[in-house]
């Protein structure tokens, strides 16, 4: 077995379910990998570990990150996109605003640093949000709950649940993907070296993860959830159930292209379209060689399609 590690962007949670599933049910092992998942956190920088070769794969939130890497001449490549849609949403108190565009009338938006550097820059140039509106989100929703005139970022799968339970109201949800931020999310990146030297490892990890996701969403996620809860004892079963439900409802993992091409799929068209949008709104400079950003060699093999078929009894 080849030992590899995968750095995530947050503490163990259902949004990482596919990977834990593949670890727990031996999918990675079946193709020769012994995968260790390295959890992230708000101040944790697993990406530095990727660049330093301390982890082999890293989870990136959206495509802007890989764009920057290529811009800086760093040989990082995206090999799969396990979320077809960006699950980031903006939450507001019920009935405060009517549309995504109207969010900019709110005096305070709690947005984390990563969000501020990525989609919020796009919101600024595309819709006219301001930097002054933004207040750092420290992953504690209390200030948002306290201030009815504010909005807050969140994962559609996570924050609304906590807020509804503790804050006692059901927040309005504005999905930024629906507003035009059409990036893939939860991308798997790796160094070019790894692709060149161990393509079979990359293939195994990407396909194994896709199968893991299929099993997690459509099969029995018990093993994966147990693993998640073992590594993060604070994670409640209700929260996990809610997350899975939301991922399904919003088609986060499996919708659009992936229905045809399998979980993890990417298309030139989507990436180019997103890039052009970002160039238009000035978030990123034009002239990037997109072929350096990603490769479709591993993502579009449709490895998860038969698994899904079996599970759904089609």
């Amino acid at each position: 077995l080849e030992a590899v590690s995968f750095g995530t962007n947050w503490v163990p949670q259902a949004e990482h379910g596919g990977y834990y599933q593949a670890v727990a049910d031996g999918t990675y092992e079946a193709c020769g990998l012994d995968v260790t998942i390295v959890p992230g956190g708000p101040q944790v920088n697993n990406r530095a570990l990727l660049m330093a070769g301390k982890v082999d794969f890293h989870m990136a939130g959206n495509l802007l990150l890989p764009f920057s890497a290529v811009e800086q001449g760093i040989p990082i490549k995206v090999v799969a996109a396990h979320f077809q849609k960006e699950p980031q949403v903006i939450l507001t108190h019920p009935g405060k605003v009517g549309s995504f565009e109207e969010l900019k009338t709110l005096p305070k938006l709690f947005i984390g640093d990563n969000g501020y550097q990525s989609y919020y820059q796009w919101m600024i140039t595309e819709f006219g949000f301001t930097a002054e509106q933004r207040v750092p989100y420290t992953f504690n929703p209390a200030p948002f709950i306290a201030d009815p005139e504010s909005g807050q970022q969140g994962y559609v799968t996570s924050e609304p649940f906590a807020i509804e339970r503790e804050g006692g109201f059901k927040p309005d949800i504005f999905v930024i993907a629906d507003a035009g931020f059409n990036t893939y999310a939860t991308l798997v990146e790796t160094m070019q070296d790894t692709i060149d030297e161990k393509p079979e490892v990359v293939k195994c990890f990407v396909e194994g993860s896709a199968i893991g996701w299929a099993n997690y969403l459509y099969g029995d996620p018990t093993l994966a959830n147990a693993l998640i809860q073992e590594q993060n004892p604070e994670m409640s079963s209700e929260q996990i159930a809610y997350s899975i439900e939301m991922m399904k409802e919003f088609g986060i993992v499996d919708s659009g292209d992936s229905l045809e091409m399998g979980i993890g799929a990417m298309t030139d068209a989507t990436i180019t379209s997103f890039y052009d949008k970002m160039v238009d709104s000035g978030v990123i400079d034009a002239g990037l060689d997109l072929s350096q950003v990603y490769t479709l060699d591993f993502a579009n093999t449709g490895a998860a399609l038969p698994v899904k078929k079996t599970l759904l009894g089609e």
Binding site: P39, N140, P141, A142, Q231
Partner: protein, 283 residues
């Protein structure tokens, strides 16, 4: 004016007053702080109630206490993890701080050349260089220690250096005359002279080692098993389990106060025989 010997019976008013004052002081020394704590907690409670602050922003003290008791097993194990880092970091900070201070007082050259690097370490944001540390340090514990150490060592270095340089000049002359070696001067003159300053630095460093450990846990992201209070706070905040978050904060605060009191006591014990700051005085 007259000074007369003991009369046995005539204990005048002044003396009675003094005795009363002393007694009050002895009692007040314990009663007042407790009273202040009680008042603080009460004020906290009232503020929550009067301003209708919801429990997910600032929970009422009763709720925090309840949570503290209910979640004690979780909190305790997190506290122990953090405490371990803290104490180790403090120990390393003492060694490093005093060691560097001694080195720096051995030669102006060394001091001029290397003190800036100590300052640089002090002002470097841990959050920014932690990734670099964790890239090259494989052991997570070692990484945590380095981070906490960087936060805590400077006050000890700075105060000890000041103390080593504050040795009485006449005594220095005496040591010179008696042909004391560098090491003897250090051991018998400069280190004792520096003791009050060092202990002052230590009391500052105690708190910093704690906060440094917490910050280090944030950046190291010790998720999962064996994670400390930082993780508890983060996770509780994220899950909006604010009472637990406050219980954890309370635990940190309490730990800080206990560390401070322990170091103050240590300081008092080491100085009470001779140093002005620790001498008991009449009047």
């Amino acid at each position: 004016m007259s000074v007369t010997p003991e009369t046995g019976l005539v204990v005048d008013r002044e003396e009675q007053a003094r005795a009363r004052r002393l007694r009050n002081e002895r009692i007040g020394r314990w009663v007042l702080p407790i009273l202040v704590v009680v008042l603080t907690v009460y004020a906290w409670d009232r503020i929550c109630v009067i301003n209708e602050i919801p429990h997910y922003i600032l929970p009422r003290p009763g709720l925090v206490l309840e949570t503290l008791i209910k979640d004690f097993p979780i909190l305790l194990s997190a506290l122990l993890v953090t405490l371990q880092t803290t104490l180790l970091a403090l120990a390393v900070a003492v060694l490093g701080g005093v060691g560097l201070a001694v080195l720096f007082t051995q030669s102006k050259f060394i001091e001029m050349s290397f003190y800036p690097y100590a300052v640089i370490l002090q002002v470097t944001p841990i959050v920014s260089i932690a990734p670099l540390i964790f890239i090259y340090v494989d052991s997570k514990i070692a990484g945590l220690l380095i981070c906490a150490w960087i936060v805590a060592f400077f006050p000890i270095l700075s105060n000890t250096t000041l103390g080593l340089n504050s040795a009485d000049h006449n005594l220095r002359d005496l040591f010179k005359i008696y042909g004391a070696t560098r090491w003897q001067r250090l051991r018998f003159l400069q280190l004792p002279s520096a003791l009050p300053y060092f202990l002052g630095g230590l009391r500052i460093a105690g708190g910093l080692a704690l906060i440094g450990s917490v910050v280090a846990e944030y950046v190291a992201g010790t998720g999962g098993i064996g994670s400390g209070l930082a993780f508890t706070i983060l996770e509780a905040g994220y899950r909006l389990n604010i009472p637990r978050m406050f219980a954890a904060l309370l635990l940190i605060a309490g730990t800080g106060v206990v560390i401070f009191m322990a170091l103050s006591f240590l300081s008092h014990m080491m100085l009470r025989k001779w140093h002005e700051s620790a001498l008991k005085r009449e009047g």
